[in-house]
């Protein structure tokens, strides 16, 4: 892949990431976030992580974002009302974040950074090599992940269920004409 495609994709990712935090409407933020995720997925695929890139599109942009969208619709948040925060907080928050990014530049991408390049073995990034790693070196973590997902499913259902005997704004709102 020629370098300018990388630059273009990177710029696209940054712009849509900015869109996530700038737009007032949560649905628009979500669309911008999906744009970022797709762009990052393409970068994954360009970096020879094909399986993870497609998983990113399917699991992240496909499943998790739809979950977000359902919650936005359920809570009826398409239009954000009221102030979105204090101006002073935004000002100093932006400065703090900019300082943080500068610091990360110096830590993560110093101009004299030396990385020992290694030729990728054949089959790098393929499903077979990923699964081979996953079911040998990371087997315990993989099994623990299944328990984590089960706990998350049970926990989220328990958290989000309607408690009996409480008046529920969701029901009132959703049955109102």
């Amino acid at each position: 892949m020629p370098p300018f495609v990388y630059i273009f994709l990177g710029a696209l990712a940054v712009v849509s990431a900015l869109g996530v935090i700038i737009q007032r409407n949560p649905v628009h933020s979500l669309l911008a976030l999906i744009g970022t995720l797709m762009t990052v997925a393409i970068l994954f695929i360009a970096e020879d992580a094909v399986v993870v890139g497609f998983l990113q599109i399917i699991v992240y942009a496909g499943a998790i974002m739809i979950l977000f969208l359902f919650v936005i619709w359920l809570l009826n948040l398409q239009t954000e009302v009221g102030p979105t925060g204090h101006l002073l907080l935004k000002f100093f928050g932006s400065i703090a974040a900019a300082l943080f990014v500068t610091e990360l530049f110096f830590i993560l991408a110093p101009p004299h950074m030396q990385v020992k390049f290694t030729r990728e073995p054949t089959g790098y990034g393929s499903l077979a090599s990923l699964a081979g790693k996953l079911f040998t070196d990371y087997l315990v973590a993989f099994e623990v992940t299944s328990v984590l997902l089960l706990a998350a499913v049970v926990g989220s259902v328990a958290l989000a269920r309607k408690l009996p005997g409480t008046n529920d704004p969701l029901e009132v709102r959703n049955t109102a004409p």
Partner: protein, 100 residues
Amino acid sequence: MIPLNYMMSLSAMIFGIGVAGVIIRRNILVMFMSIELMLNAVNLAFIAIGSRLGSMDGQVIVFFVMTVAAAESAVGLGIIISTFRNRETVHADDLTLMRW
């Protein structure tokens, strides 16, 4: 392949935008999306370094990060829904029960 510096810079920028989103925005859902943004920036760094070292470990870690992000978003959205049921708001400044 593009230099590692570029990929790490992109990762740092996306992570910083995520941090800014958590600080600036007061809508819990958008703060949550910013957290996803930060997770993705870290994933990008893992993939970039892993492909340059010729090691699959980075991709396996990204796989686990994505799984944990799925679990985290399910639980987090459950918390948001239950907050909304009780307080009828998703505005972080309105949730002051534990503020001294």
